[in-house]
Symmetry: C2
Subunit: 250 residues, 2 copies
């Protein structure tokens, strides 16, 4: 049975500060923990209701500890509206170095909404994108809402944070950097899109920062078809979906 | 100044039952109320902090009542994390009849997430789609989370609920009904897509119901590019974005 001290510790991981101190994060729910177990991530503990433990004896080898939990403790630890049987404390991984050749890499500039980030990770996985680079002021990938909204894709995509300006300046001058903008870009539907390069997506309220925009080699936009009253913008993850689809559709 | 009875009444509109009884819904925040005022919707009341009333005297003609509100009352009434100055009680509109010729119409089957519905309304507006038909078991468009996530597009798109099976059966046999599926559909990137027809999107967990699928004239899918470990599905609003973009891109 889990101890009070352990419960307190795990509960503290709702905050980035304590997650980063211990270099861990939380994964919740039957389906997500299933995906986790089939990934390369190192599991520190699993805390679960007795029925989950009974049904999942086979996974004992993958976790250092499996702790039994009461329903009321799971409710305390969970960030989900309807906690679902199990919760794992997982080691944060060091991101792999980004390979630039022969592939598309997604770059996220100042994405603040954890759900949007999670959804972009999920759709990147769908489109076979293996790497995402986030600006340092983007939301934390280990935010519980981000993790949950990736629906397991979190374990399949390499995500790294960096100073985007410096990073972009370090690239070869001819390396394609596509920036998605609301105004002044070329209609994405009319462009010949490269099969290697960076695709930069900004936040819906602030767009892409000036210092990043100044490193763009191509400005692209999704044209607005709204009649009469204009539509203001697209949600950042919707824009990302449409843009990545355009790059991949050939 | 607003009365206690009025506060109680407005607070009750968080629930569908009371909204539908009085045929009203709630719109919140400076930007959304701005969009509302520029729309054809009939405003019942506006409740606002003194600073909003002072800054918006010009709108008095559009609202039957403008009631001053204290910060603590706004917090009580609001469904937003950070309530923003103003909240309006608005008359529900009777949807217009759907025109089928020369246009694309979005059909949503059993979409349960209010944020997803709101995002789909917003992106439909962006792509110049004027009508959305929802299955009767879809989430309520007047759900506060739906309204807020449309970012004003709510006031620009005609949304109606119907028995989809009956509706689809009533259409001319040759009228295009595109259903988006995860398996068995044709790769959307290779299809010649019509500029008139219905585009049916299902929920991400349950897809499109069998009785609706059986009325499809075309099954289409967004191909999965994930390498190795497959990606399970796309979020319903992301799928809708990519599909609508494909229909509109010519």
């Amino acid at each position: 049975m889990i101890s009070k001290a352990q419960i307190k510790k795990i509960a503290s991981y709702k905050e980035a500060k304590f997650r980063n101190q211990d270099k861990v994060f939380i994964v919740e729910g039957v389906k997500m923990v299933d995906e986790l177990i089939n990934s390369a991530f190192e599991i520190e503990f699993i805390c679960a209701l007795p029925q989950w433990i009974e049904a999942n004896k086979a996974i004992y080898k993958r976790a250092k500890n499996i702790l039994e939990l009461r329903e009321e403790d799971l409710k305390k630890l969970s960030t989900m509206k309807s906690p679902n049987q199990v919760l794992a404390v997982v080691k944060q991984q060091t991101p792999k170095e980004i390979i630039l050749e022969d592939r598309l890499v997604i770059v996220l500039d100042q994405i603040k909404d954890p759900g949007n980030l999670g959804t972009i990770i999920r759709l990147s996985h769908w489109f076979g994108i293996e790497d995402i680079i986030c600006s340092e002021n983007s939301v934390d990938i280990y935010n519980p809402k981000t993790i949950q909204s990736t629906m397991g894709s979190f374990f399949r995509v390499n995500i790294t944070y960096t100073n985007l300006k410096k990073y972009l300046k370090s690239l070869p001058k001819t390396y394609p950097v596509y920036c998605s903008v609301l105004e002044g870009g070329k209609n994405i539907y009319n462009e010949t899109l490269s099969s290697q390069g960076l695709i930069v997506i900004g936040s819906e309220s602030h767009g892409i920062s000036k210092e990043v925009l100044s490193e763009a080699t191509h400005l692209i936009k999704i044209p607005n078809f709204a009649k009469g009253s204009k539509a203001e913008s697209l949600n950042a993850s919707i824009a990302a979906g449409i843009i990545i689809s355009e790059f991949k559709r050939r």
